[in-house]
Amino acid sequence: MTVNIPLLEASGIQKSYGATRALAGVNFDIGRGEVVALVGENGAGKSTLGKILAGATEMDEGTVSVNGMPVSFHSTKDALDHGVAIVLQEFNLIPEMTVAENLFLTRPTGYRWGWWKTRKSQVDQASKAIADAYMDFGIDPEALVSELSVAQQQIVEIIRSLSVDAQLFILDEPSAALGRRETDSLLQLIRRLRDDGRSVIIVTHRLDEVYAVADRIFVLRDGIARGEFDPASTSTDELVAAMVGRALDKEMHEARTIQTPGDAVLTVDKLVVQGSSSECSFQVRRGEIVGVAGLVGSGRTELIRAIFGADPAVSGTVVLGGTTGVIRSPLAAVRAGAAMVSEDRKQLGLHTALTIHDNVVLSYLAKYGKFWLNRKKLDADVAQQVDDLRIKIGGSWLDAGVLSGGNQQKVVLAKWLLSKPELLILDEPTRGIDVGARAEFYRVVDDLVAQGMAVLMVSSEMPEVLALSDRVLVMSKGAIVTELSREEATEERILSFTEVMAAA
């Protein structure tokens, strides 16, 4: 295609939030039918740039032109009028309405004569839209959005946003809540948009997606463009080096110090989780990490939530720290020596309105606390944890909500470590955390395991599971379908089990 004028061109984009500069004069352009990946660590400014281009955020300085004509976007609607649409990280769905109603919210369809007949046609159209987007993952168009899982909601949001007629689609971390299969469908959808001559900017920090779909990679670091790369001729290491500003080397896989595990800390025997009929049995021993792999909806999170007593199991036995039987509440699990870093940090892990100190002491107090606090001891303990985990903070009396994702996750971890657990359960521990902070987190976990901690980890990040786990349990449809050793486990092997079982 010979295109002289780019579809969209931005130059000298500047944006500051208070004293912090998010973007310091960035030039960017994208042509017709092109897919550009916008990558960088958290706080690099990639989401900010995406939002400015889509009118969701106003820039301080700079110019944007579409088809060579200067434009100025004050809202996403302005941008849409010029053919630029955005899929935001946050959901804009109405939870009390059905999937079909949400899909056609902005352009009501079929409410003309008699609601029953037309409602049916709306449902049919919704089914068609879902199938067209390769997203047929059993989402019922008549289900309320509030009944869907986070991944399914994300899918509905994507389908809705991509169904508008636009020349350029900007996707801000679209796969953050998606599993492997959903992500693959999303990538397929992006390719089709490109084949239709549409352009796509995908903001992400999942490099596998970048390589799978992008024509060009645009790297940002600290609000400054750090280069553009051709995926065909750029290695992951080069890309990561540009993103973090230093070579990350093969740190991850070698981060683990493998040792012979000790005695069993957790024994799960014939545990049946709510809403499932499969019995799960396995052990986690001192000094090892057991990874749990599987697709979204394979029952991984449900299994560990049952072990932790968050949603008590129906039947079966959990042997942990002197207790035997079904664990009925998180408090019982904490007392038995378990700790759980939850999947959704802001909803389930962190108290963003509380100070760092108040966050860190909670589980310790729940487990050991007397009526009156021993403030001297608590202050010292919190300071120790902050030190050990290298949490970068101005002071432990600052609100936890102002920290970066990586530091927030460390605060959650510090909370659990203070309660001196024997078993650490991690559910998607590095979701939404940038590359540098991840490596740091892996190091911390490895240290803990070396000191004898037993770790049970659920993760959708395959490289993470492979790099960290001593053993991998593969789950499908609520059952553990196989167990692989560290040597046996490869991405292909794990996927072969999940796919086979999902198809069955």
Binding site: H351, T355, K370, L373, G394, G395, V402
Partner: protein, 326 residues
Amino acid sequence: MTATVAEQRTPRSGWSKFVATYRIEAAMLGALVVLAVVLTIIEPRFLSSSNMQNILSQVMVLGIIAIGQTLVVLTGGIDLSVGGIAAVSIVMGGLVMPSAGVLVGVSVMLLVGLLAGLVNGILVAYVKLAPFIVTLGMMSITASLAYVLSDGRSIFNLPDAFAFFGKGNIAGVKFYVIVFVVLYIAAHIFLTRSKPGRFIYAIGSNPEAARLSGIRVSFYQVIPYAVTGLLCALAMTIESSRLGTIDPNTGSGFELTTIAAVVIGGASLMGGKGSVLGTLIGIFLIGVLQNGLNIIGVNAFWQGTALGTVIILAVVLDRLVRVRKR
């Protein structure tokens, strides 16, 4: 973005930690002082000891109840039934007092308040009903029961000894002033230095995260409602003793004034943010405002306008302070 700013700050002294924690309270205290100075300039009688005592006795009842309201709001709840509980508890106590004596009478008052509060708490925490609905229902029930039991008439024939709570002195200080001061200090220490106190903040800020941290959320959710019920009864015991009569037609508007005091004091109705120090300042700000408008001769009809303006300004100020921080 905001994170980097906070993270770059170097550790500071205990004083700045105090300032960081009580920023909003300090701002509202400043507003209170300014208001007092302005009122004194307009009308020097404002500072007279008789007027000060006047303010104190006005603020006392709602101030005590507002402690409980603060606890409830901190958990993310709200208690609309404070006025009704206050009324029904003193009426029930007042009915038995002439025959059963002061001690039994007062015990009945406190017990009824505590029980009503417990019912609120259990319905909210264990039956998982919305606090607004539960306490709205309780407000209606208790206010109506107060009329039913008293037949709508005030109770006058109270034993002389009952007057101690509202009029008695200990070492030259009014008994109720001592109760007030002790309660505020106790509540402050409870919230900042006890396990249940810290858990109340955690539950208000994120109940599910609190549960997953191993906190028995329902148990700790009951406490604030029970305490509020008890404090409603205690406050009205003092007030009816001071007035020498028990009036079933009491307590209307208590919920709005106490919630206003809590909000003016910097608490968030979403829960997790606030302090009894803030509430103390809030209740005095309201008291001084009403008293001041009275003594400078403003038509009483204007009080609502003034109070409403202060509530809204307080929330705006709170927003400004928080944004500046970010």
